[in-house]
Symmetry: C2
Subunit: 429 residues, 2 copies
């Protein structure tokens, strides 16, 4: 029923019994118990910000701490030195649709954006324009602004629709042969709008530009097909749908044919051909490791290992199928129950045009978000302006969780309980 | 006896009984049991590469994993967001001799070097020269080479003595009013030579240049006095003498008066004034946080907390006093037992001119290092060319550990057992 071949026009009847039926039929239902649920009554719909803790992670990490660090001490680096590469290859194969040796684990998404964008700009010194999306995640825009300033480039902006994402015609209108690089997100951080990666890559390549994709909200939520879609460059985080833990290291992807031609700006010893010879001149290694910089945070890296086991066991196609259906149920119940209360969908209506989160607009979204967390046991998050973002991660969210969360929301808002919360945005979440 | 006021001309008699006396009198002896020693027979003299695991770290980290991540989920970021700043202030006060708001935890040493060097070079656009030490740690040299290439600067090299460190006359000879920035290490990674930070800062300031110090081998080993010594900029790692665990986040220091004038190149959302407003334009916050970039690795950050507790309890002056004495004992026994076997000291002879590690030269150092680890239960490390680096971290190393390690070394080398090891440098350590 929900095996990836399900027709999309599912008709819900809006009852909790129906949600229970979906849970019983869920081929990924077994995964829920592989994650920690210390507060069984809490409904967590923010897996798009920080994924839940896999049950196996604490013991795995404790072993790395006690045996790897405590017992192995410096000798463990003989093994750790390869973890980033091994994890990169796993991400490439199971999550990103890339080849071996095309993905590395490194730094933060922000630093990786900077490194790869810089390297790409060096490839086309005669092109003087960098294209960004005015609606992209802040760090992507800020990094691009910095690069444009540092390198004296023009920054050209495509104005995506805040609810519906990248408009191909608007994007085409800003592309010409002065554009060196386009920076875009595959899944929009706020609306969840899913970009047509293949079409956009083709469009950019037609004018001779490269595209750098931010996959932070896509990796683990939708099948990413970097090779098939002709992608040049990509970065992304691992703490959302990949459940790697708070601030787990980011990844970067460079198409193999581009690797020898790109040279990143932060020439650190982890990018050196013969790292421990410690030679006089920097000589970048001929592999994806040339895009590394300094010593990686191994404890935060280690937490990714059991997390990736789960993603691989589930399979990205099953995760996507369930995530889409969870989104459809969310949208259906929101239309049924929440539109009469002043909400509207602030995401694409078509399930195929969304990632695994969606957003609802409401003029009092901040206070509703606070009240849901403080009084109703529902954690989702708020995004400027006036938006409630709902991310039911397919790995551990039940259909009844979505039903209950929207049911609690309608009751809370109908009763006006959110109006007792402060309007002051003093907290992060 | 070893309280920091001890005259330096300690005379050892070379007996194990004497080392035992020092252990009994050691005011930091209590610290040893605060670190894990799963192999009691292993003598670990590589705390200058990766510090030992504090006993409290596994439980502290497990709590952050199970409760912070597993139970608190995204809500824990309300607290975590301040950890880097709080740890930065602790480092400033107890380790680095800096003021509150002058130190932040961020990225790797490599990335921080890049960020601060870039920012400093922007301050003096008319100066076209960057000075580095030919003998500095590779990542420092490589980052500087990259910056020189990217910005079209001249890279001027001061040739420090491989054994004795920075020569002030040689440094003076390469300084003039074309120099924008000097990048140097406070304690040399190989010889342990300790630079005269105050004198060098003065010398650079006289020609109008700034100095960026790498404190990786100094922090936690010697009292660093950034404010008192007139330092401009500094970076460093936390996994050596600070025992933060493999790849724990690095720190960066920017003198408060310089902060508003410096703008780092990687404009990430953690450097933004109102991070969660997610506004259109990058507007760097007016604090040390403007030098942050992306989301920090919280598990690797968390491990620093119990580690810093120990450093603060010990006090940097007591750590330094003991570290110096451990170094003196090492040098004394090496002169007594190892010089006749072909070793020589490849570090400054004066204890005040060394950090807490020192280096011995031997033509067969690689095989001796391997044999010590594989057959004699002594872990130190090898550094090119032909050097055995010995780092008896004062937090957990006993005087008898040093005595036993050097005793095992003399026996092993006298018996020629190292000659059975391969000459091939296939391993990292």
């Amino acid at each position: 029923m929900i095996d990836g071949r399900t027709p999309l026009a599912v008709r819900f009847d809006g009852t909790r019994e129906e949600a229970e039926q979906y849970d019983r039929a869920d081929p990924l239902g077994f995964l829920r118990e592989r994650f920690a649920h210390p507060d069984p009554d809490l409904i967590y719909l923010d897996g798009n910000s920080l994924g839940r803790l896999p049950v196996d992670t604490p013991d795995f990490l404790a072993d790395v701490v006690r045996n790897g660090w405590g017992r192995g001490l410096i000798r463990s680096w003989n093994d750790w030195i390869d973890w980033g590469r091994r994890i990169g290859d796993r991400l490439a194969e199971h999550v990103l649709g890339a080849g071996p040796g095309e993905v590395a684990l490194s730094d933060s998404t922000t630093v990786n954006l900077y490194k790869l964008a810089w390297a790409a700009l060096d490839l086309a010194p005669d092109r003087r324009t960098l294209v960004v999306d005015a609606d992209d995640f802040p760090t992507d825009r800020y990094v691009a602004q910095g690069l444009a300033r540092q390198r004296g480039l023009a920054l050209r902006t495509v104005h995506s629709d805040i609810d519906r994402g990248i408009d191909l015609d608007r994007l085409r209108a800003v592309l010409d042969d002065d554009v060196a690089l386009v920076v875009l997100s595959h899944v929009a951080y706020r609306s969840g709008a899913l970009a047509d990666m293949a079409a956009i890559n083709r469009m950019a390549h037609e004018v001779g530009a490269l595209v750098l994709w931010d996959l932070s909200h896509a990796a683990g939520a939708v099948p990413v097909r970097l090779t098939e879609d002709g992608a040049d460059l990509a970065v992304g985080c691992t703490y959302k749908y990949l459940n790697g833990g708070p601030g787990s290291p980011a990844f970067l992807y460079v198409r193999r044919s581009l690797q020898p031609r790109l040279r990143q700006p932060i020439q650190g010893w982890f990018g050196q051909r013969d790292q421990f010879a410690m030679g006089a001149e920097f000589d970048p290694i001929g592999t994806i490791d040339r895009f590394l910089a300094g010593t990686p945070p191994m404890l935060s890296t280690a937490a990714l290992v059991p997390a990736l086991d789960l993603v691989e066991e589930a399979g990205i196609d099953r995760l996507r199928a369930k995530g889409r259906l969870l989104g459809e149920l969310t949208a259906d119940l929101a239309a049924r129950w929440l539109e009469p209360l002043g909400f509207r969908l602030a995401s694409p209506e078509e399930p195929d045009r969304r990632g695994s989160h969606l957003t609802l607009w409401h003029p009092d979204a901040w206070r509703i978000c606070r009240a849901l967390a403080e009084e109703a046991g529902v954690v989702c998050d708020y995004r400027e302006p006036d938006r409630l973002r709902i991310g039911p991660s397919p790995a551990y969210t039940r259909f009844t969780d979505v039903w209950d969360a929207l049911d609690r929301t309608r009751t809370l808002v109908a009763d006006g309980r959110h109006t007792r919360c402060s309007r002051e945005k003093a907290r992060i979440t």
